[in-house]
Amino acid sequence: MAETVIKVKNLSKRYRIGVREGYKTFRETLVDSVKAPFRRIANIGKPVPKDETIWALKAVSFEVKKGEVLGIIGRNGAGKTTLLKILSRITEPTEGRIELKGRVGSLLEVGSGFHPELSGHENIYLYGAILGMDSYEITKKFDEIVAFAEIEKFIDTPVKRYSSGMYMRLAFAVAAHLEPEILLVDEVLAVGDAAFQKKCLGKMGKVAEEGRTVLFVSHNMGAIESLCHRGILLESGEKAFESEIHSVVSKYLSKSYETLEDPLKNCARLGNGKIHVVDFHLESPDGEVLKAARSGEPIVFCFKFENRDCLSNEKVSFCFSVYTDKEFALFHYYSHFSNIYFQDLPKQGWAKCLIPELYLSPGNYLVMSYTLVSGERADWPQAFLPITVVGADFYGTGNPNLSSWGPMLVKGKWAVKEI
């Protein structure tokens, strides 16, 4: 049994948030700016009122064993970064206790220690020292770092002249060659082009194979699933779920998009009204309700309908279209395009369409539904139904698709032929 290297017990962190100020007139602003210094001086040292604080983490406990790669998942503001900041001692917890065994290295944001005026060479030493390496260690790895970043030619150029890609590559290269026993990584893989991202992921995988412990925060479920063994799901500062990584990811996806109100409830509708589509959701092929789909994976679009007055011999064609979040239409798919019509519909039911491979890149999209009865428009709810698509290993290469260059993804067979 491997030893426990991270022990987190009842960790809580309270942040102070400013009180929101309402709209003010110019006169009030003037008067306030004169009064404010006196009020602030009077308030120095007084305890902060309760409603001005927020618990970014609440009683979080977990343990990590040596050599384990733990994924931390959660929506924005769930406390992931706060957790890593406390673990890397950047900020102090309000309550609780952590025991860490071994040297800790954190990659919370690569390149924050760089100075733009200094050359690549000088910055490697500076950033290395900031991350806790000594110069002997950096000298030993210097060539490796430069080669990894692919910046050999520019090593004596000030980094302010670097392209942003080169800058990030160099920063990641230095950080990746830090050899701590515990590595904390926050969303740093979103740097550089796809090839470099693959290299970064490979490096991270290697770190894990060497028996070091990694805590990994990302919104990229593909990267999380390919790297991590176990996962923790954080929800508004609390640990909601902890398990083997795949079940944590599924749990997260099934919970991740809660819309405030059902847009199909009270929307305007066009059409003769023989059928009403009243509900919509996404499902996995095994029938599990999802609020997010994954690039390249099978997904079922499900529309709940009410049959108001269709005659039993009338042919019904269901349809849905997908738009980008900027309301730009991407596709349109009537069942009759595939020569599929439905007859003898029940009073209520679900119309489901299985898409075997979803060719959408990660992002937010909008869905619209249409229904034709006997070739006539029966129902067109004037409402956009939001869906989310998250990244996954679309190309099947082990490198999760990280590009967000437009909404569509394709894959095919490449070849070169001599003319």
């Binding site: 900020t91 040297r103 954190s106 924050s112 900031i130």
Partner: protein, 277 residues
């Protein structure tokens, strides 16, 4: 670098007085070196005159002061030529003023580091104060030239010179710790610093000799630690006048108090730096 053997780190909310972790500071000594080097290298990047600025600033100030205070106001200068008198005072003062404003701004200027990486924060204002020493030594060359020109020979008191420079550095660090930590919380400090430095110069014997101040008010001047230090600096370099040991003693004591209280306050505020910066 951090210890690579598997020692255990405990992270807990800290309460009350927190001692300075000297072992950890020692482990991060290379960071102090690299940050100082960075500040030195960056200072005159993309300037035409480069390191000459370290000379131009005090020399021009000396010329202006000589014209206005030396010639026009006929300021007494302990029987030595006013230009070298004022320059010997400006030398430690310029270093002190630059080091103080650099360290006062240092934490806020490194906000991106402080919110992203852990290291002993004490290093930041210390490195900022250290970096100014290079300028000091460059400006010192001019003083040496003037000493040859005016044929002034330092006495044995010159042996005190490293000690006085050390005191100036500690005074800048001590006050810099206070200001930089306060600056994180209250950005008012940013506007206070230039103002403070200006006032501070006029209550220090830079442009006038201590003898200009009536004897009975000397104790009041002694509360300003730079008063004793600048007086002693001038005496040790120009050798015209014995060092006022009482004054220097009081100044040293006050510097130690500023430094210790600065470290204490800094350590106390350090925990929330990343949250409020």
């Amino acid at each position: 670098m951090l210890d690579s053997n598997s020692n255990i780190t405990i992270i807990e909310p800290k309460k009350g007085l927190v001692a300075v972790d000297l072992k950890e500071l020692w482990n991060y000594r290379e960071l102090l070196y690299f940050l100082t080097k960075r500040d030195i290298k960056v200072r005159y990047k993309q300037t035409i005159l480069g390191g000459l600025w370290a000379i131009i600033q005090p020399v021009f100030t000396m010329v202006v002061f000589t014209i206005f205070f030396g010639r026009m106001a006929k300021m007494p200068s302990n029987d030595i030529p006013y230009p070298i008198f004022v320059y010997a005072g400006l030398l430690p003062w310029t270093y002190f003023a630059n080091a103080l404003s650099a360290s006062g701004e240092s934490l806020v200027g490194s906000a991106n580091l402080i919110t992203k990486v852990y290291f002993p924060r004490l290093i930041v204002p210390t490195a900022a104060s250290l970096a100014g020493l290079l300028d000091f030594f460059i400006a010192m060359l001019v003083l040496l030239g003037m000493m040859v020109y005016y044929q002034l020979v330092p006495s044995f008191q010159i042996l005190l010179f490293p000690f006085l420079l050390g005191l100036t550095f500690l005074c800048a660090v001590g006050a810099g710790l206070w200001l930089s930590a306060l600056n994180v919380q209250y950005r008012d400090i940013r506007y206070v610093i230039p103002f403070l430095i200006q006032i501070w110069m006029f209550v220090s014997p830079v442009i006038y000799p201590m003898s200009l101040v009536p004897e009975k008010y000397h104790w009041l001047l002694a509360l300003n630690p730079m008063a004793g230090v600048i007086g002693a600096f001038r005496s040790s370099l120009l050798g015209h006048h014995p060092i006022d040991w009482t004054l220097l003693g009081i100044s040293s004591l006050i510097i130690v108090i500023i430094l210790l209280s600065g470290v204490y306050y800094f350590r106390k505020m350090e925990r929330t730096f990343a949250d409020v910066i």
